[in-house]
C-alpha cells in the first residue's frame, strides 16, 4: 500500500511557513460535517462532532483520494490507457484490502451512473 501522505504532507507544512494565513483544508468542512452527521443517524446517542475531528476527517479524506487515485493510475497505466475509467477503479477496489469496504458502493454506483 503506497503512502500518499508523504508528498501530501510536504505541501501542507510548506504553506505554514509563510506569514499568510494557512489554508487548513481543501475540502469544505460544512459538507464533511453534514456527511458525518448523516452517518451518525438521528437516533444516535453520539450527536456532536467537534471541530478537530472534522479537520482530521478532511485531511484523512485528502489522503484517501490521493491513495485511491494513485493505485488506480497504476492500473490505467497497465492497461495502456491515458484516461482513468470506472472499470480501473473497480479493479483497484477488488485488489486492495484497504478499499474492500467500497465493494457495496460499486453496485449502487452502477445504478446511478448507467
Amino acid at each position: 500500500m503506497p503512502n500518499p501522505a508523504e508528498e501530501h504532507s510536504e505541501e501542507f507544512f510548506e504553506d505554514s511557513e509563510d506569514d499568510a494565513p494557512v489554508k487548513l483544508t481543501q475540502l469544505p468542512l460544512a459538507r464533511i460535517k453534514r456527511i458525518m452527521k448523516t452517518a451518525l443517524g438521528e437516533d444516535s446517542s453520539v450527536k456532536l462532532i467537534n471541530k478537530e475531528s472534522m479537520f482530521v476527517v478532511a485531511q484523512a479524506t485528502e489522503l484517501f483520494i490521493a491513495a485511491i487515485a494513485q493505485e488506480t493510475a497504476k492500473i490505467t497505466h497497465t492497461n495502456k490507457k491515458k484516461t482513468m475509467t470506472m472499470q480501473h477503479l473497480i479493479t483497484t477496489i477488488k485488489e486492495s484490502e484497504n478499499f474492500a469496504f467500497l465493494e457495496g458502493t460499486m453496485h449502487s454506483t452502477n445504478g446511478r451512473i448507467r
Binding site: 508523504e6 468542512l29 459538507r31 453520539v46 471541530k51 475531528s53 482530521v56 484516461t83 475509467t85 458502493t105
Partner: protein, 232 residues
Amino acid sequence: MWIGEGGFRAWHSLVHHCLFQSNSFSPGIMDSASENEELGATFLGETPHYLVTEDTEDSRDGEETDRSNVVLREQDRFLPIANVARLMKKSIPKTGKIAKDARECVQECVSEFVSFITSEASDRCHQEKRKTINGEDILFAMSSLGFDNYVDPLKQYLQKYREAMKGDKSLSMGEPYPISISNGEMTEEMLQEGQAQGTQSTSAADLEQEGVIFTYAPVSADPLSNNTEFTM
C-alpha cells in the same frame, strides 16, 4: 424502479422539474421512451407525493427516506466534484485524464469513506459514554479500519491545527479567528455548538475540546519586558 439512460441525475432533475411544474410536464425530458414509460405514466396520472418519495432499490437511499420523506440533494450527500477531481489529479501523472464516471465514482467512495470512519469513531464514543466525537476518536477509527499508515501524518496535521487554533506568535493582535478555514460559515456553527455543549462542561479544556475557540491576548515572550526596570 429501473433507472434509465440518463441515470440518477437525470431522474433527479426530472423529479425536481415535476415537483414544481406539475402541469407543464414535457415529454422531451424523457430519454429512452420504453424504459421510462412506466415512469411517464405515473407522472401524468398520480398525485405529486409519489415523486417526493425515493422509490429506488438503491440501499443507500433507504436511510434517507427514513429520516423524512425528502430526497437528500446530491450536494448534501457528496463533497463537491471539483474538489475531488482536483485532489485526484494531484496524484496521477500530469498527462493523465479521468473519465467523468470515474470522478463521480470516487466522489461517492469518498462519502462512503467518511461515513465508514465516522461510524467506527461513533461506536467508540458510545462505548465510552461520550456524546462528542473528537480528533482522537477519528485517529483510533483509522487505525482499527486498516488505515494505520495514515495515522502518523494525521497526528502531525492535528498538532499543527491545534497550534494554529491556539493563536501562535505569528498571529496578529486581537484577531479572534486568525486562521482562515476554507468554509467560513463553519466557524459560527461550531461556536454555537460549542456554546450549547459548554453548558455541560465545566473546565476550559473541555470547552475547547467541544469546539469553542478561545483567544489569547498577545503576550510578549518575556512577560517582564514591558514592566519598569527592577531595581535591586
